[in-house]
Amino acid sequence: MPAPIRLRELIRTIRTARTQAEEREMIQKECAAIRSSFREEDNTYRCRNVAKLLYMHMLGYPAHFGQLECLKLIASQKFTDKRIGYLGAMLLLDERQDVHLLMTNCIKNDLNHSTQYVQGLALCTLGCMGSSEMCRDLAGEVEKLLKTSNSYLRKKAALCAVHVIRKVPELMEMFLPATKNLLSEKNHGVLHTSVVLLTEMCERSPDMLAHFRKNEKLVPQLVRILKNLIMSGYSPEHDVSGISDPFLQVRILRLLRILGKSDDDSSEAMNDILAQVATNTETSKNVGNAILYETVLTIMDIKSESGLRVLAINILGRFLLNNDKNIRYVALTSLLKTVQTDHNAVQRHRSTIVDCLKDLDVSIKRRAMELSFALVNGNNIRGMMKELLYFLDSCDPEFKADCASGVFLAAEKYAPSKRWHIDTIMRVLTTAGSYVRDDSVPNLIQLITNSVEMHAYTVQRLYKALLDDISQQPLVQVASWCIGEYGDLLVSGQCEEEEPIQVTEDEVLDVLEGLLVSNLSTPVTRGYSLTAIMKLSTRFSSVNRIKKVVSIYGSSIDVELQQRAVEYNALFKKYDHMRPALLERMPIMEKSASNGPTEIVQTNGETEPSVVEPKHLPPVTQPVNQANDLLDLLGGNDVVPVIQNTMPTKPASAGGELLDLLGDLSLSAIPPMTAYNKNGLKIDFTFERANPNPNIAVITIHASNSTEADMTDFVFQAAVPKTFQLQLLSPSSNVVPALNQGTVTQVIRVLNPQKQQLRMRIKLTYTLKGSPVQDLAEVNNFPPQSWQ
């Protein structure tokens, strides 16, 4: 057998392949050669073969058959073998592999090897990917090495200890004694890794943190080391662009942050050094700024005095003006974090932040936008909104939705006047109209309805906007709705806020009909405009024209439009006396809590809102339902019937399994019961006995919701005592409609062979008005017939 080709030779060969297929062929050939070489237990070339395998693995080809070979290499005496073996182990043998644990013994031996580089390999492998079992087995060895005077090994042992602690946190205690004099080392490698180790311990355990603060006096030690780093002259070994060991400085600052957080004494002890670092660090290169950044984060997190905090924010302010994009980005991110706590200080940099909206970099623009919204308040709303609207005009599409939502939110909170509010909304709708979120439309409609004195102005502006452009659906929808509601104000020319326009009823109807036929309008928009036309029948005098339009759409292909048209037709023909009441002006709507899109459903704006205000409910749904055979979509409040088991009786299969349940329909005389009734959610149980197996009770739950909002993501879970068996079938739905308009049903089958008293624990989870709700309850009031 000729000697296997060398690694570099293989790499060169593979690189000459011109197609993927060619490469694959070469690799397969080589893998076959390697496999036979492995089979022959060839010690001499094992190392070379594994190295080649690792190269092929990097190209994406499978290499698992080399796992055991890596183990053999690790066990070899030759350093070359060990080096490649451990590398292979780190690449191929992570803790998910079965043979991973076989490494433990080899690593243990190598941790005690006479050559420090072998020990180093073992520590490195253990510290990178040792599993929890391995860490448990070898923690003692690591702890021993943590106390050695050999700094090469000590630093590696420290990081290995960090890994052990991450994998097996309970072992943290055993490393505590060894940390005692870690920080008195001169060697920077050991210092750095020791700080990492101490950081890990402090982050994980509040007890450790307290211990290090008080007993070990860690803060003074760290302050001293940091001071030396800053004050010491040029040290060639650790210098980076004139700064001595920036990596160590950053790590120390981070540990100081943890020690100083919520602790007055520690924070005070580090005030001076923080001020010193903040003022003396060279800022011309990235390194210096990295240290400043860490310093700022530390100052903001500990209990620093206000002068120091202002210094920190000012550093961030200077960062914002830096030429380097990365620095600007980092500044914006940090300011975003601090804007809640140090609002006034951040406000001082508002103009710089707003300038960042014009930055070319996408990440910076996004951060600047978020920060700008966070800075908006009652005082600066007008100025800020001008900038933000300008940004909305010119920004990339990926920002428009978020920006529009942000503008709406800010306008809602801080609008100086109703007119300004409506103008702002108009501006957003006309510039970014296609990007606003779906729930903006109902929100805006509600806002407009409630701004009674602005109705005329609003409808006029919206009408003018429609004349310009009918492509942006949210704008068109809001405009249609408004024209439907306030069309009378429009034609009467009553506007106070601005010059009233002259428009006739026919012109208005032209526009609305134009929306109906336009290709740009979505079905939802068409629905809006048909309804608007209908509403105008009580506000305009050209009723005949409206009747004609409505009757045409009675045969529309679009089912939604057709239904509306037919119903409106019915309104004209049989219920004309009710028409004015039905179509009268919408009342002021109460805003449902917090972030609610209100109960207004997008698709129609006429009788749905009446659900919100029950007292205004026109008593019409009944006649409309009776009037025709249409689908009962309007105001459907039907109870879904109990799932009836309509299968005929079958002889019970041996053993009476639950699944074989085809009992008959004996709605036995077991009375129903209420199992749960809390916070508007009511759950009733109804019972059937499944004959012929009397041990099985079939319970149907009925969940109903008397609150104003739907309960979504509704999940019902049940548990029974051990002597029972339970089977839950799928629920009818995950949404329990509001105001008892429907129920969710689900079937439970309970096998009760020992005829024990039936008890059940139930867990309910659902989302109500955006907040998740969870409840546990015990059901003990089962009627005796259900289990006897």
Binding site: L87, D94, R96, C128, L159, H188, H238, V330
Partner: protein
Amino acid sequence: MMRFLLLFSRQGKLRLQKWFTPISEREKKKIIRDMTTMVLARQPRSCNFLHWKDLKIIYKRYASLFFCLAIENQENELIALEVIHRYVELLDKYFGNVCELDIIFNFEKAYFILDEFLMGGEIQETSKQMVNRSIEASDMLQEDDSSEWFEVELFG
């Protein structure tokens, strides 16, 4: 801690992969795909930081190679850039004016150097000279494999 370090060419060919947490092969492949797509799609003069899932991705291009380092959210991005730069300097010192071909043909050496600089997702040694000396000494040990072991003294 750092979660992973990837080196890939402008065509998206992987040159080095170092993972600091256990991840399945399939997940690794997906991450590599995601990283190469995301980083290669960036405009030339954009900022070097990206957000991906719950991690920060720091990337920098050196000649024909992209260095892509993933760090946890609480880590300092600016110092991560320095970490990448330090690794490049170490490679440069070792190979003498390092280029992509050096890393392709000597990938195992690139790993050895990395393993003297970083470990378990943290920096192991902050001195360039110390890392270089360790690598040189280890290389010498390799050469003397035929003879018996001998101790190599390191300063400090």
